[in-house]
Structure formats: C-alpha cells, structure tokens
C-alpha cells in the first residue's frame, strides 16, 4: 500500500500534510478569517510541494555565475517560475476574500456563514 519513497520525500510529505490542514480549514472552519488563513496555508503548501520538486541535491539556484551553463550545475528553474506566478494569484484572492469579509460584516455583524444563512431564512428574504 505505502510506496518506497515516503521518507525520502519528507518535504513533499510535509507539504501535503499542510495542504490537508489548509484544505480542511477552508472547508470546515466557521470563522471566515480562519477560512482565509486556511486558504493561504493551502496555497503555500502547494508552492512548497513544487519547490521541493524543483530541488536537486547538491546544485545551486539557477542564476548563471561565471558563465557556467552546464545542466549539472543548477536546479530545475521551472517550478520556481510557476510558484512566482502562483503567489500573485493567491495574494489577489486573499485581498478579495478579505474585502468580502468586511462587507459581510458591515451587513450582518458576524463572521459565521451558517449564522448568516440561518438569519436569512428567519427573515424570509
């Protein structure tokens, strides 16, 4: 059932544990702020996973030094590029979620989504 590489891939293992924690927070926490923190944890966990994937033992960051351009010298640059793009996306999404939270609070004075929907039901709107 469990494959051979669990302990070699300890970085990825930590990343998916964080992903699970973040995902559950985003899905199941009642407080909106904590949901948003969960979202951020989930996103950074994915980026940690990618960064681990790009890493190659004993090689250095992909910035050309002294004209050395052998493949054996540098780590894989692709995941870094993807993560840079991803971080921007997660910042934008966080800002949107936080502004939605502010508006929601101004309207209903609470951060609990279930409470709000129950209130809506009671008001019969």
């Amino acid at each position: 059932m469990v494959g051979p590489n669990l302990f070699i891939n300890y970085g990825e293992a930590v990343a998916v544990i964080l992903f699970g924690i973040g995902f559950s927070n985003l899905l199941l926490q009642k407080n909106l702020i904590k949901k948003i923190i969960g979202l951020n944890i989930m996103d950074t966990a994915i980026y940690l996973f990618l960064a681990e994937k790009g890493y190659i033992a004993g090689r250095v960051a992909p910035i050309v030094v002294d004209g050395v351009q052998e493949v054996e010298a540098y780590i894989n640059p692709v995941p870094s590029g993807l993560v840079l793009t991803g971080i921007v996306v997660s910042v934008s999404v966080t800002a949107i979620m936080l502004s939605l939270t502010i508006r929601l609070y101004r309207r209903y004075h609470t951060l609990d989504l279930d409470e709000i929907s129950m209130r809506l039901k009671k008001e019969g709107l």
Partner: protein, 92 residues
C-alpha cells in the same frame, strides 16, 4: 554539513506543521494571524534552503508583509481587536 542542514530543514518543517495546527485551534483571531505571519517567514527560510531565492524574497515581502497587513486592517474593520482596546483604556 549536509546532514546538519537536513536536520535544520526537518526542524523548520516541524515548526510549519505546528504553526498550521495552532492556527486552527487558537481562540483569538489576532493570535492566528501572528502565527500565520511566522509561518510565512519560516516558509521563506525553507525556500532559501531549497535554493529558490526568488521565491524566498517574494514570500517574505508578500506573505509576511502585505498579506498580514491586510489581515490586520480587516481585523480592525470588523472590531475583532476590540478586546485589547478596552483593556488599554481601563489601564489608562
């Protein structure tokens, strides 16, 4: 040398997991956000160790900087920091 670095990485990763769990269970929102800030900083150190300085600098500027500031403003707007304010006023 590499062995020491590996142990260091392991400790940092353990710290990440602890941070994530304590965010989930902490009662005060302000505490969760502070913990999340330290989570971001540790994450950027780990990325430095993984030879991705581009990511580390971005995460330090964004995750620990701007995002946290936005969180704080939101907390202020939703009066979640009200408890602390009241305490201060009493002391005065």
């Amino acid at each position: 040398m590499r062995g020491i670095m590996q142990i260091f990485t392991c400790i940092l990763m353990g710290f990440l997991v602890i941070c994530a769990i304590s965010v989930t269970f902490s009662k005060k929102l302000l505490n969760s956000i502070l913990i999340f800030m330290s989570y971001s900083l540790v994450m950027s150190i780990i990325w430095m160790l993984l030879e991705s300085p581009d990511l580390a600098i971005t995460e330090a500027a964004v995750g620990a900087g701007v995002t946290s500031v936005l969180f704080f403003v939101t907390l202020k707007k939703i009066h979640a920091m009200v408890g602390e304010d009241n305490d201060e006023r009493k002391e005065e």
